[in-house]
Amino acid sequence: MSSAAVARPVVEPRRETLLPALKSAGLSLLVLAVLWALWEAYKWLGERLELTRPFPVNERTMPHIHDMVGQLFEPSRRNGPLLIDVLLDAAAFTAKEAAAGFLLGAAAGFAIAVVLSESRLLQRGFLPYLVASQTIPILAIAPMVVIWVNPKLPESLAGWGAVAVIAAYLTFFPVTINTLRGLQSADPRAVELMRSYAASRWKILWKLRIPASFPFLFTALKIAAPAAVVGAIIGELPSSIQDGLAGAILNFNQYYITSPESLWATNIIAAALGIIFFVVVALAERLLVRRAPENVA
């Protein structure tokens, strides 16, 4: 049984990732074009047929998509900077909060999962309250977080630090639940193997359970990353923070009647921010998790 009798090395996966990546990017653009066309087609038909249900179709309810995009390159107010500059500044501010919240929430969520996985008793005792924590609307908790957290923060974090904590609150839960599952996903025989090496509980956790949990962890992180952006935007509202996307959304809400494109344009930027968060996590997963192709989501 020489290795010559066996097939040569099967795949070199890393080198082949560029072309599929381009392909999937192209596919996403195609879908975008189709959605664009559907939107415009419905608008055109709706206006011609004077549809009143489910809502009347006109410039206010369904602005042209090119008008929304075009609005980005109009001044945000008379003699003011371009709308896109205002929104990018706001997005950068919100991104800072969301990123800090995401990291904080992911770390806390992971740590909670590790502790709970090591004790069935703790797990049974705490899990219901973790679930309960997610049933309370964030808007009901945010004021307390602002009051508790803000006075204790250093100058550099004042204001937005509380928002990061709110984003973290929305992030940690999926991370905890999925990581808990992942930590328990190790093959029982792999555990026996570790015991045959006289491995301590800690070593089994470190060398087996944690690496085995990574695919689950990253699934959770991909859910949590856009959720952190939403959490940051929502957290800005009760914190009275004007510099982020929430400020822009509130502002353009008030002017929707006269300039609906501005709010739509803001939504586009907010969505783009969420997508960027997702893509960053997905790329990190590719770099860090080496798995059989069928196990990579």
């Binding site: 090395p9 085995a212 059989a292």
Partner: protein
């Protein structure tokens, strides 16, 4: 190995599973001498995998004594006195072939330099040169199992426990792996306890075949395999080979067990998993 103690010494061993109140093993007495290759063969439910796990201190017996290299099975496990190979290779997906083989060495606290040297030797031993950087899912089933054997032998344990290691492989790969295992056994001078469902495999590999009967598992008889060493493809044509197979089959039948284990291996294995 040269302490004079038996590699494995089992006296009056019984195992009762609380769940379902099943008597899995009853009054087992078995000695394995250093350097022996002993197969445990028997039908589903005879508890041979359970017996292997008790030797490895992965399960505790209900009754009786198990000594490995003259010490308690528990002490032997903590001293890393044995390597174990399962039916599935149980490799870590996130580790390369080289890192999988190095796992027990990391656990034993070897430094990087020593680990790398040893992994190189083991890769040569199981003839996987060129595949060190591959991940398990890039290998065939036979190659994965060779990695698993290299991993079990990497820290030179005096005892090798194998739980149907080739049960999931096709017949041709299985015969190749059998030849390979014999070569490795002779090169490493280790003691092997080998669980199998295949009569031919047990006779071909072993110096002794321990035939077990079904629930509760008992030793139905022992067949000394005095075929010449070293063995190879010609061993299967040896006139005595067929006689020994008949002898093992007779003992299996005596244990009220043998209908057609060869055809039924998969279901037998699955049934035993639930034990």
């Amino acid at each position: 190995m040269s302490t004079g103690a038996a590699a494995v010494s089992i006296t009056g061993l019984s195992k009762r599973f609380e769940r379902g109140d099943v008597l899995a093993l009853e009054r087992i007495d078995l000695d394995v001498q250093p350097g022996e290759f002993v197969s445990l063969i028997g039908p589903s439910g005879c508890g041979k995998s359970t017996l292997l796990r008790i030797i490895g201190d992965l399960i505790r017996p209900t009754d009786g004594d198990v000594l490995v290299n003259g010490k308690s099975a528990h002490r032997a496990r903590l001293d890393r006195d044995y390597g174990i190979v399962f039916q599935d290779a149980v490799l870590y997906d996130w580790r390369t072939v080289a890192k999988n083989i190095a796992l027990p060495l990391e656990m034993a606290g070897w430094d990087r330099k020593r680990r790398e040297t040893r992994v190189g030797e083991m890769v040569d031993l199981v003839e996987l040169t060129g595949f060190e950087k591959h991940h398990p899912w890039q290998l065939s089933g036979g190659m994965q199992q060779r990695v698993s054997i290299a991993r079990a032998l990497s820290f030179s344990p005096p005892l090798l426990l194998m739980d149907e290691p080739f049960g999931a492989l096709d017949e041709m790969t299985r015969e190749r792996m059998n030849n390979e295992l014999l070569r490795i056994w002779q090169e490493t001078l280790s003691t092997v306890v080998f669980v199998t469902h295949s009569i031919a495999e047990s006779v071909f590999l072993s110096t002794r075949v321990v035939v077990m009967s079904a629930r509760p598992g008992r030793i139905a008889g022992v067949v000394e395999v005095d075929l010449p060493q070293p063995r190879g493809p010609e061993t299967r044509e040896h006139p005595h080979f067929a006689e020994l197979i008949t002898e093992v089959r007779r003992l299996l039948r005596k244990g009220h067990a043998l209908d057609a284990p060869e055809e039924d291996e998969e279901t037998l294995y699955v049934a035993e998993e639930g034990l």
